[in-house]
Amino acid sequence: MALLTFMGGVHPPDHKELSSGVSIKKASPPSRVLIQLSQHIGAPCKCTVQIGQEVKKGDLIGEPTGFVSAPVHTSVSGKVVALMDAPNAMGRMVPAVVIENNGKEEWTQLRDNPDYMKLPPEELKGKIKDAGIVGMGGATFPTHVKLSPPKEKPIDVVIINGAECEPYLTADHRLMVETPQDVIEGLKILMRVLGVKKGYVGIEANKPDAIEKMKEAASGIRDIEVSPLEVKYPQGAEKMLIKAITGRDVPAGGLPMDIGVVVQNVGTAVAIYEACRYGKPLIERVVTVTGLGIRNPGNVKARIGTPITELIEDRGGFADSPVKVVLGGPMMGFAQYTLDVPVTKGTSGVLVMSEKEYVPSGKFGHCIKCGRCVDACPMGLMPSMLSLFAERGFYEETKEYNLFDCFECGTCTYVCPSKRPIVQFIRLAKSLVKR
């Protein structure tokens, strides 16, 4: 059977072999954590603790200030020592709470509920909301918002995104291999909340072990299907994933819910299961620490707020001289100027690139109109034209070429033989053009 996919895309060398075989290991408990109050798209949280206050693991430290917002909980037990502004992965300063770990690992009151599947959907949704769950693939959109579609947009399909198309990253892969049952349970909860009959798990074909494990876990459940996908970036982008699995097109400028689909990441599904079953808030996540600059690349289960230096130390420290440290994958992740940034709910990976992997990106040539970017653009845009217009300062003209349909996956820049910073030009144009 031909694998499901979409038009366009590329397959960069993925280097997943560095960490795909390494089981998830719990990171050593950090001595102090830096928990940012804005770890999601939407309104930042209001701090609910004061300096000097004692907190237990899972205690609320930031409460949402709007509908599109998600609460933040502490990931250690200990004392609040500082409230400060700290850089996030994008380099922006955001308010954060610093908590010193007292090592007691005391949990706040959690309530195990083995019969969670019998709870009414609204209550399940409330649990997800209270646990502060956001999209853990990197977009960090509050999950409960996605689960509250307006009435006129009925949802009929839920897709669990196990594509993990970004090179290097293997966190979702390991989750599916090691806890396939949890993923399926998460999906079942999602289906119940949304009242949906059909659930899919989309997995790129380069993770045969994950496909097998997931198929096993889903066997006997009629409504859940595991769909192997062609190995291609950006297969895991929502619109591309939906296209591949259901054949539906998300309208330009629209959302998946416009065509009755909700997509959730594998990590999110597991978090949803843990929240509904145990009432556990989202205070830790699996992070892939990888790259040739890391001595023992692997996947770690890290508390939210752990500084990435500690994760790097956990995986044996730097192997080679690190040239670039990227949070997220190499295609869409953010290069860091400091290692003081902590793990957040959206940190899927810490990629330490060594001299060998680093590609200098300074000089670029003329566009030779080879069409590689046009062929590769998953959105069917003409990145070559967009970059030319932006390069010459004709920003308004970019609108005619559907500037705002670009979701900045970076495929165009990756394939460009002239090494043109195409997606960078597009971002520039986006910031300068009035919608």
């Binding site: 003329h366 030319l388 217009f389 390069e391 010459r392 004709f394």
Partner: protein
């Protein structure tokens, strides 16, 4: 009848492509270079131009056959033809403004340009020399107009593309437009000998 039709068709093709006014007869260059900067204006100009050309050719032919030749006034053809064009342009300007302000807003500015375009005066002059009959004159005018429209749109699309190009500074603007025209003209020589009139 059949041969007649073929002949008219060949006349049309010859006027529009093979003896394209811009690329082989070097006429209408001022407009060609002047309004080929943006596609929108080029298209507007093409439409206005072709229609004015056909009508003024018809008027010129009637005047030529029924007044100038009988009265032996052909030596005044330049004055008369330019008069016809000027009068017609003036008239259509006024009529268009009254009847269709929207269209006038779109195409009116090109009307003013037309009277100083050499093609518009060249068509009746060539017509006179070649002794075309009425239908032939119309076909010739239409072919010439379409040919001009083709060259104008090609040029406009190329120049819009050149806006994005890193042309050496001394050649920006007009010089590179001329060189582009030279190269298009070279490509158009491929048509030579296609129809021998």
């Amino acid at each position: 009848m059949h041969d007649e039709f073929i002949k008219l068709f060949e006349l049309f093709i010859a006027a529009s492509v093979i003896n394209n006014f811009v690329f082989t007869r070097f006429l209408g260059l001022c407009i060609f270079f002047g309004v080929s900067k943006k596609m929108e204006t080029a298209v507007g100009m093409s439409i206005t131009f072709t229609s004015v050309m056909v009508v003024s050719a018809a008027l010129s032919w009637i005047l030529l056959t029924y007044i100038m030749i009988p009265l032996d006034l052909t030596f005044l053809k330049i004055v008369i033809f330019i008069g016809i064009v000027a009068a017609f342009v003036q008239a259509s300007d006024t009529i268009m403004r009254k009847i269709s302000p929207g269209l006038y807003y779109k195409l009116g500015i090109y009307l003013a340009l037309i009277s100083t375009n050499c093609i518009i005066i060249a068509v009746p002059l060539i017509m006179t020399t070649e002794k075309y009959n009425f239908i032939e004159s119309l076909v010739f005018a239409l072919g010439s107009g379409i040919g001009f429209a083709i060259s104008l749109t090609i040029m406009a699309s190329i120049r819009e593309k050149l806006e994005l190009a890193d042309v050496p500074r001394p050649f920006r603007g007009m010089p590179i437009a001329w060189i582009t025209t030279a190269l298009i003209a070279l490509a158009f020589t491929g048509f030579s000998g296609l129809i021998t009139m």
